[in-house]
Amino acid sequence: MTDQAWVDVALISARPQAMGALLRYFRNLDLAEEAYQEACLRALNTWPKNGPPRDAAAWLIFVGRNSGIDKVRRKARETALPPEELLSDLEDREGELAERLDGSHYRDDILRLLFVCSNPVLPATQQIALALRIVSGLSVKQIARAFLVGEAAMEQRITRAKARVAAAGIPFETPDAADRAERLAAVATMIYLVFNEGYSVMNGPEGVSADLCDEAIRLSRLLLRLFPAEPEIMGLTALLLLQHSRARARFDADGSIVLLENQDRRLWNRQMIAEALAMIDKAMRHRRPGPYQIQAAIAALHARAKRPELTDWEEIDLLYQALERLQPSPVVTLNRAVAVSKREGAEAALALVEPLGDRLSGYFYFHGLRGALLKQLGRGREARVAFDRAIALATNTAEAAYIRKELDHLAGETEPAHAEERR
């Protein structure tokens, strides 16, 4: 790694704690961000010369805090009488004490910072964009690229999100256990959204959005370090690791989706799988199941199967039933239908899928699965209609390419029959 690269890594890894503390000092996202940027600039100048500080976050907090105070003072001089008494608790000589206090604050600081970006008043896309900007420190340009939108549009989206967060009020009181649990759940959802954004747009080997998946895993590990005994956060981390472990096997050379059962399992990342399985073992000990743990357990059953035909579909079916009870949703039932098709056949699975039509008629995977089941049952014409519907709903080229292959396959199967008829 070059000097520049290790400084960058140190800055990124210290960012959540430093930003969290600066947000507590300044109680304003923009001010905290400016102070942090200033500290980073100074770090870029001095760290390569003097070597890395032992505690990068503490260094950034100290420097950022002082530069932020300077700025507040200058502003105060420009506008009115200096409200010194308001600033007196920010004097430098108290810096050391403040730093020592930080140690006990840092958990809530980081959680607050994450929660600000996960505030349920924000629509999902704004949560993701704000978290990537504020917590992860991605540039607006990088985020815009991941979302496939222009830089100006992304800038505007982030500005709007910040305004909403400020209007909703940032919670600064120390959270009690119930508040903490609520914030934790919101943050877990946000991390899952970040991952999904990366997971769903990722296509082809060069996909920038693989970075979003890595970033979500990093945030999830960070959250788990802060709350090491939360089984749902273990479940979330395991789930993300398991999904991401298959990244290299999910698309073929043409950029088309490869279904789980057709993936080359040698391409799965074994280290991620090992970490996830360890995490699930830890979570199970708590005997407090939750949606993330169950989804992780399902993904783990796939990861454990050496070959697709060794998959424990019975257990997967049971886990989906548990998930349906905990978090009823037509998408969960749709996923269960795959397990049912393996256990009891396409007929039984189709019976489970058909009633979901009302609620999932605009969902790509509903028509994709329905088409596949109809195809298995030899109902080619109906399968084609379902696949046509799916292709119209595909949100990226990988999905469309996959369905096109299914359609080609159908054509290959049915054409000889036509040819015979004609003869």
Binding site: M1, S13, A14, P228, A229, E275, A278, K282
Partner: protein
């Protein structure tokens, strides 16, 4: 004498490495190891999963207590270790220095002489 060389670093930093950075560090460290393997000096090498995967068993009053996470909350964590046969502390320090120059991030190597060593029979 057998020495354990214990590797400590801030795992929030090592977990921030991109796949390429991680691969490069591992490749450079492997090159250092090869030299010592060829000299017949290097024993087992282990890299540990992050401390978020750790569980700690403590001896409580009348019962053992299982705690999630590592033994101690520290700024730097134990991330892995080497076993190496060296004639002197200086030689062991030389090995740690080689590792350190192949690994550009901050971090520390603790050199601990061994009191007992059983190679075991893991069929790996």
């Amino acid at each position: 004498m057998l020495y354990a060389v214990l590797c400590y670093n801030d795992e929030s930093v090592t977990c921030t490495w991109s796949k390429e950075e991680d691969d490069r560090v591992m490749r450079d460290l492997t090159a250092v190891q090869r030299k010592y393997v060829e000299a017949g000096k290097l024993g087992p090498v282990a890299r540990l999963l992050p401390t978020t995967a750790a569980t700690t068993l403590r001896h409580g009053i009348g019962e053992t207590i299982v705690i999630d996470g590592p033994f101690a909350e520290t700024k730097e964590q134990l991330l892995g270790f080497y076993l190496i046969d060296c004639a002197s502390l200086d030689e062991a320090l030389g090995f740690a220095r080689d590792l350190s120059s192949a690994n550009p991030s901050a971090g520390s190597y603790e050199i601990r002489p061994l009191a007992l060593y059983k190679p075991g029979e893991l069929p790996i």
